[in-house]
Amino acid sequence: MIFLFSISSCHVGEKVFDGKFVVENYDYVPFITDLPFFADELELFSDGTFKSSYWGTGDYEIESSQITLDYKKRGSIRGSARFSLRYEMGRVEEIILFDLEGHVYKRIE
């Protein structure tokens, strides 16, 4: 009975998105346009908003294995960026920017 209670308290099936992520393997990035080219920190909040040095602030939306960042940068630029997600135990561990080069946001908190 205690075992079953433990499982139910883990909210089986409920995924965790929010947290703080930092960019890895950005050295190759001069080849790629409009992706962070420094160790940017991206923070996803539980209310569906995000904050980042590169993207600025905005809303994020997650559909299955993809995340969309809707950002509004200073000035007239308004845009969005969609990336794949990698989960571990129901928690987002990586936001994959450019898979072939290992260019990812990796969870740090």
Binding site: F31, R78, R82, F83, F98, D99, E101
Partner: protein, 406 residues
């Protein structure tokens, strides 16, 4: 050849009031002076208070003529001029042109017609010759040809060295008689300097800012030559350092170049290149494009993944299979949408999700020993194994596919 009119007037500096600027908006600049060279190109543009058209020509400028009267030049869509009295706004001189520069006398000449020689494209009509002086060469609008060989003719191998703006003056513009449009960066003095003709491939001018507004970001302003509409691209300069590839370089050649360590490390595929046609027809691309059009975003990025189930649907679309996963970006330039698909070939490309190390060209990991088994040039039979893993180059190559979406 100097840029002097028949009365000796020469545009050297400009002082004007405040207007909205075009290219460098947001930069605080100290003086009210503009300096031009003898052929009308902006040398010093520190004020940022004027309006510019897509070709970096001011829409309104003023100078003092050799006979002491202040006059104004107002450019139209082709950078050609009319002459206005700044005090009364009266049009003193106006000329209309066919696209290649022949005068169009659809309106009666104004009387009295002032002697002002900077006409079609704002260039100087030289005396009685009927030729325009663009700096590097003279242009004859009567035959739509240059009077001299293009000093950069080697960059336009498929074209006559006498051709004018690739025979398309509605799309292209030649600022100084050397080449059409292109890619620009600022020199140490802050002047825009043309560094390549790559923008011409798709009718876009690229202006690179090393540190955009002091942020450390490398930004590129992409300006549609047709409409003057623009958008910002991060890291555009580095992407454009790639080598432009010919239409007969397809997915097989790109793959082989990666495999054997040959060819350029960075490749650019422009416009209607067959690879771009293939990409633009794929449903993943079309879905992303539709979504972008439905949004109000000025730019958007997508991760496109063909792996693994899409192999079933791509069938013989080898371009898609060769690219596999790639990054796709859309940029609005007015009514048009510029697409950038960016891919790389690396060891990760073929050891998918395995813990392998990618190697750059600078690491010099070219063929280290002769292959012990025959290597097919086709992807389908490429089976890396112990006998040939280290016989291949497998140093990274990068591909950018850039085109307007139809």
């Amino acid at each position: 050849m100097c840029g002097c009119g028949s009365h000796g007037e020469k545009l050297e500096t400009i002082e004007d009031g405040a207007h909205e600027n075009y290219l460098n908006f947001g930069f605080p600049l100290p003086t009210a002076h503009y300096t031009y060279d003898g052929i009308g190109n902006v040398l010093n543009d520190d004020q940022q208070s004027m309006s510019y058209n897509a070709f970096n020509f001011p829409n309104t400028i003023s100078t003092t003529s050799g006979y002491g009267a202040e006059i104004s030049y107002r450019t139209d869509g082709s950078n050609s001029t009319s002459l206005n009295d700044p005090n009364t706004a009266e049009i003193l001189q106006r000329e209309l042109y066919y696209p290649f520069g022949m005068s169009f006398r659809g309106t009666a000449p104004l009387e009295p017609e002032p002697d002002q020689d900077f006409l079609y494209n704002g260039k100087e009509l030289v005396g009685e010759t009927g030729l325009y002086d663009y700096g590097a060469r003279y242009y004859d609008p009567a035959v739509s040809r240059w009077m001299g060989v293009d000093p950069l003719a080697y960059e336009y191998g498929a074209w006559s060295p006498y051709n004018y703006v690739l025979n398309n003056p509605m799309l292209h513009f030649d600022p100084d008689g050397r080449s059409v449009d292109g890619e620009y960066e600022k020199d140490e003095d802050g002047n825009w300097v043309k560094v390549s003709d790559k923008g011409d491939h798709i009718g876009v001018d690229f202006y690179h800012h090393d540190t955009f507004r002091g942020s450390g970001k490398q930004m590129t302003l992409a300006v549609d030559q047709m409409s003057g509409s623009y958008n910002w691209i991060t890291n555009g300069r580095s992407v454009l350092r790639g080598e432009s590839r010919q239409d007969d370089i397809g997915w097989q050649e790109v793959f082989d170049e990666w495999k054997f360590g040959t060819g350029p490390e960075r490749s650019l595929f422009w416009g209607s290149h067959p690879s771009n046609v293939s990409i633009s027809k794929h449903y993943n691309f079309l879905d992303a494009h539709d979504e972008f059009l439905a949004s109000e975003d000025s730019k958007a990025g997508f991760s496109v993944n063909f792996w693994p189930d899409d192999y079933v649907w791509t069938g013989t679309d080898m371009q898609s299979q060769m690219m596999g996963s790639y990054n796709l970006s859309f940029y609005r330039l007015g009514e048009r949408v510029l697409a950038l698909a960016q891919d790389s070939k690396s060891r990760q490309s073929f050891y998918y999700r395995m813990d392998v190390t990618n190697y750059s060209r600078s690491e010099g990991r070219y063929i280290t020993k002769a292959p012990t088994i025959p290597m097919s040039t086709g992807m389908g039979t490429y089976l890396p194994g112990p006998s040939n893993v280290y016989s291949l180059s497998e140093t990274n190559t990068y591909q950018t596919y850039m085109f307007f979406v139809r």
